[in-house]
Symmetry: C2
Subunit: 385 residues, 2 copies
């Protein structure tokens, strides 16, 4: 089994992209990553996407993107794992390269959500939940997360206002990321006065839907010298799953998918939570950040808010989170998000982000991409080479 | 890189499954394959599916099926490549096992199409085509294939009636496959008098939509003795792609995706067309069978019909095709079809199909699964162990 690395990264800004099609976005990010790596060819392309079929009436993205990227005839496939599709595609690329079946694989996560009315995008996003046991009852995806947040507040006597630490930090960092969607800070007061979407989740607890594409080039570690992009080693890219429906979980406040994924990632990398210099957490909702910090081994059960406040999650904190804005500040083009997270982690490791958000300790990065409310979790650990 | 094998197969009948949900079908096939292999666990599950999001409002099939199959927490992901999704999922499993990252992977292809009105399923199937340049013009997927067939008849002076050889053979074989949807023979005369769907494609040129699931268990060749299922070696499982839109192809009658896929498959297996004992061809439409025979190196350009008639494509012919009924006779649950093809090929190799359709030379099987009208092609070559 070969060791693998990332030698190229690319991304489009996260925006409402009214003038670019799905394929435009994907090809732009993919070719950017190839340029960054200094390569004109790849052996295959893994596409992370969730909703092109339901919203854009376009499945079959693998060969579509291969063709429009000018990669005549190479293997291309779409991988779907709800909002975890992006990192799931990276996982598939790792397998392809680790096996020796391919030397260089392009991964592109892409999603286009904003041109559809909220009715359609809300219904489409709910396909991440259990259609027969959750969605059919009228539960939306925000609703599911509201149940989790309410339960957390009840079980752990958590103060709703204390969740503000996550979105305030995310927006603060997004200010300095030119590709972020929301480049403005928010205050705790704005959080508190923000309107509810699904009580207790307010607008500032919830990441925005968005359009965008991000890409990485994965190659064998033994070949990194063939590329011009500065490499980042992939120490781990590991998957854990859980039941989709919340009511099937013994303890909905304990994300077993996260626990399984990070345990594997720590095991194969030989690292633990204390070794992680910064963490690109999947802050689709503030509650998910809290639950992820606990199941990933950073905070004790019910203590994520206290941990965040005591340890510090800002750029100079003990565990910087969402250093480029996270899902909340950068925006959440669902099937692309997992790739954005890894691109941002790689750029931090290379020292290529804006000075204001460059973390000082940038040796080991962890990025965690979550599908559904924890049913698919992919944890990637990168290391400076 | 490790060599890989199939040590378990399972499938549901191909039917209108009104009483089984998508997850029921998938879990039934997967557990059947695991029972056949004699294993209670797998390290991961690859799901081949095209349309669960658009039709069943259910994405995120990876963790859903893992959970309902009782495979608590293992990796599960969906792979989509239009009608090629099934074999694409097998390809992903091959990578996982070849890499050493996983020892045993379950692959399940599943699709549920018949409970939706034709309006929805026709639109959903058209997402395999190019949404911006084909579908938006009102072209359906059958329409695209009708263009190809008309062009073939014009270019090669082919007689429409001569295409009957493919569906007549498929139905003849389906009679003896208890899991096939259409277990009755048809005559050339019935073909000729069959009504048109999209001229020149008639009802007998076109495979039916259907519900069903099929599964295989992939393991490392070095581990086959740990399983009770009789193994079949996977000599090749290779992908070629092409443009999706027909108008972007230099010669629409030459399936470059097929050519690329089989060239790779022949190369890695060290075999050629003459070594193939029988061929599970992707007979979604009669025209695709003809074009596949040509681009796969069996027949010269424009000579597929002559080849079929002279060589013989029946069970005792020179190149038996669609030995268990093919897409036309067995039925075409799109994202599951590629797995059905490989299950049937493995059963032929094991000598486990009905006597009437058991091929005599069953050493080397080729199965070819096609997404779109040739934009994604996966060619799998199996060998008796």
């Amino acid at each position: 089994m070969r060791k693998v690395a990332i030698v190229g990264v690319g991304q489009t800004p996260v925006r409402e992209h009214w003038e670019s099609s799905l394929r435009d976005l994907a090809v732009t990010a993919l070719r950017d990553a190839m340029d960054d790596a200094g390569t004109d060819t790849v052996d295959g392309v893994c596409v992370g996407n969730m909703l092109s079929g339901a919203l854009s009436e376009q499945e079959h993205l693998g060969s579509l993107i291969v063709d429009y990227a000018g990669l005549d005839g190479v293997e291309g496939m779409k991988i779907e794992a709800a909002c975890g599709s992006g990192a799931a595609a990276i996982r598939m690329a790792v397998k392809a390269v680790a096996s020796g079946l391919m030397d260089t694989v392009g991964v592109v996560g892409v999603e286009k959500l904003t041109e559809f009315s909220g009715k359609y995008s809300t219904a489409a996003l709910a396909t991440a939940a259990d259609a027969d046991y959750e969605t059919t009852m009228g539960l939306t995806f925000v609703g599911i997360n509201a149940l989790l947040m309410r339960r957390y507040m009840h079980e752990y006597k958590a103060d709703k206002n204390d969740f503000s630490i996550f979105p305030v930090n995310a927006h603060q960092n997004a200010v300095h990321n030119p590709d972020a969607m929301f480049r403005y800070p928010i205050t705790e007061n704005q959080y508190i006065n923000s309107k509810f979407i699904a009580d207790p989740i307010n607008l500032m607890d919830s990441s925005p839907i968005a359009d965008g594409a991000a890409a990485v080039i994965v190659c064998a570690m033994e070949n990194v010298s063939q590329f011009k992009g500065h490499p980042a080693a992939i120490l781990a890219c590991e998957v854990g799953t859980d039941t989709i429906a919340l009511d099937n979980r013994k303890n909905p406040l304990w994300l077993r998918g996260v626990e399984r994924s990070v345990k594997k990632a720590y095991y194969v990398s030989g690292l633990g939570p204390k070794d992680i210099d910064f963490f690109e957490v999947h802050d689709a909702f503030s509650i998910i950040t809290a639950l992820s910090l606990e199941a990933s081994g950073f905070a004790d059960k019910g203590k994520a808010l206290q941990f965040a406040s005591e340890t510090g999650i800002g750029i100079k904190g003990g565990l910087p989170l969402t250093t480029c804005g996270g899902l909340k500040g950068r925006g959440h083009p669902v099937g692309a998000t997992g790739v954005y997270q890894v691109v941002e982690a790689a750029k931090q490791i290379r020292g290529e982000v804006s000075e204001k958000i460059q973390v000082e300790k940038n040796n080991i990065a962890m990025a965690q991409n979550i599908g559904g409310s924890g049913a698919t979790v992919i944890t990637t650990i990168l290391k400076k080479v």
